[in-house]
């Protein structure tokens, strides 16, 4: 055996355990899910599956509930990621300008990010509580509302409040990534532009923003994929209510599968999410693998 082939064999042996695990806990399940999505499978009678062809998919795509859920999920994704990006970028820039206490601010950002998602959701649900919550108390004390409001009983308000909780939890992620990227940018570029008479805003939009492109992209794609399949936050804050007002695509899949027992339909749904997120993954990998982006 040549040295090269032996090396390749060693490599294969080193990768093998990982491959076996991935095969078992990811590849096999995702293929089974794909397979199940063509059957009328249910939780109660797993054995008597009836082959349906594309019926689960056709059913879903012609169901207004599905489309309303897609629209809601996209709204959630765009608004929360959009807010997180704008706030994150602003805060990253703020830290980079080193005002008094900037180190404290940077450390503080870690906290909301490190608080578990379920704890975040539980906390914010209590903040939004109609009778005793801090949101009502605060707004009444500042005279912004006259009496306590049952915030989570209004579908659109509830959706936006879940977004607010999500922003609190996830915005620091973007701020920290962007701040780290900002810190690596050469200072002299900025100074040269300042000497040439560029004002702060121009230096931000014309110099730093283009240089941050790859960092922003990474943060955006990761967060978009995550937000698109939000589940935990919805589960604890609203449980999809009121009146399906906060049911997102992952939550609908959960309901279909585990509350209604429609395994096949749930599988089809989850496969649609996979398809979308895999599409995002391809974009993600392509951008991550461009040599200039690895230097981030």
């Amino acid at each position: 055996m040549t040295l090269k082939r032996r090396d390749a064999l060693t490599g294969l042996l080193l990768v093998l355990p990982a491959l076996l695990i991935i095969l078992g806990v990811t590849l096999q399940p995702i293929l089974t899910t794909f397979f199940l999505s063509f059957f009328n499978a249910s939780l109660s009678k797993l054995t008597a599956n009836v082959y349906l062809g594309f019926e689960n998919y056709v059913d879903l795509l012609s169901d207004p509930v599905f489309w309303a859920t897609i629209v809601r999920t996209l709204y959630f994704t765009v608004v929360s990621v959009g807010l997180e990006l704008v706030l994150g970028l602003g805060i990253a820039q703020l830290i980079q300008s080193k005002p008094p206490g900037w180190k404290f601010l940077r450390v503080s950002l870690i906290i909301p990010w490190a608080v578990p998602t379920i704890v975040t959701g539980t906390l914010w649900r209590w903040i939004y509580n109609a009778d005793y919550g801090a949101l009502n108390a605060l707004l009444v004390q500042f005279g912004l509302i006259e009496k306590y409001q049952p915030w989570l009983t209004k579908p659109f308000a509830a959706l936006n409040l879940v977004i607010l909780a999500d922003v609190w939890h996830s915005m620091p992620f973007i701020a920290l990534i962007l701040q780290a990227a900002l810190a690596t940018l050469p200072v002299d570029l900025d100074e040269a532009a300042a000497v040439d008479g560029a004002n702060a805003w121009q230096r931000f939009t014309k110099i730093r923003l283009p240089l941050l492109r790859s960092a922003i992209l990474v943060a955006l794609v990761i967060r978009t994929v995550e937000a698109f399949r939000v589940f935990d936050m919805i589960y604890v804050i609203t449980a999809g209510g009121p009146a399906y007002g906060t049911v997102t695509i992952s939550y609908l899949t959960y309901l279909e599968t585990f509350s209604f027992g429609h395994l096949g339909r749930g599988a089809a749904l989850s496969f649609l999410i996979s398809a979308f997120t895999l599409g995002m993954a391809i974009i993600y990998i392509r951008f991550l693998y461009r040599p200039e982006d690895r230097a981030l």
Partner: protein, 283 residues
Amino acid sequence: MKRSLHRLLLFLITIPVLLFIYLPVFYLLLTSISTRSEILSTPIHWIPQNPTLKNYRDILTPGTTTSEVAKTFKITLRNSLVVASSVTVIALIVGSLAAYALSRIRMPGRQTLLMGIMGTRMIPEVSLVIPLYILAARFGMLNKPPVLILTYLSFALPFAIWLMAAFFETIPVELEDAALIDGCNRVRTFFSIILPISTPGLVSTALFIFLSAWDEFFFALIFTSTVAAKTVPVAIAEFTGRYVVDVGGMMTGGVLAAIPPVLLSLIFTRYIVSGLTAGAVKG
């Protein structure tokens, strides 16, 4: 003069940001040390007049009068610790071996493999859960910690491989070439040359895996319903009973669940930031 005015202005902007970050945190802490009657008072008692550690006592040293959820909370903390640590150790060992091979050894299809492994990170848990549930039920593994350890590897392992591969690529090849020429084999080179200088990468990877395993809710919700394997996030979600909500207990549970990840992140901030820039995912 203009410069100090500018700094003052910047400082004034940091205040609302800090308030946005800390108000919910303080509210969580204050509610956890409030009595039930103060929690349920209008107008609100921002600062509890009779601060109490009863909620903490109920969870940490449960008596006969404490609620069932509070009683079992400590066990769920232990379950979370067992699951998150096991996942971290397994993913770190299996993952760094694979990452080393994928980033260093020339073999057919390694680029495709790395991409494929990365791609699996984008598969949502919902797409895996049905077949995994069926399998777990068939093998009698529901409600047992191993089922969580195994299923958590579906996100932890690709994650470890990705982060460690990114880290190994920053180590100059010349280092191991010398060892390889001297006749060390791959495995020995890995353990004696690469691993000792990889501590920063390993720490940051371990942190991210531990934090995401500690945070995981969906698999835990589906696969565990008894105290034998239930993790902290599920326990917290269960504080909201059908009829009564033990808000103080719930918030105290929240504080206790948040302490390990927050402390770890604050101690290892440097590693968190370097891990984030390598493309970490924990949301």
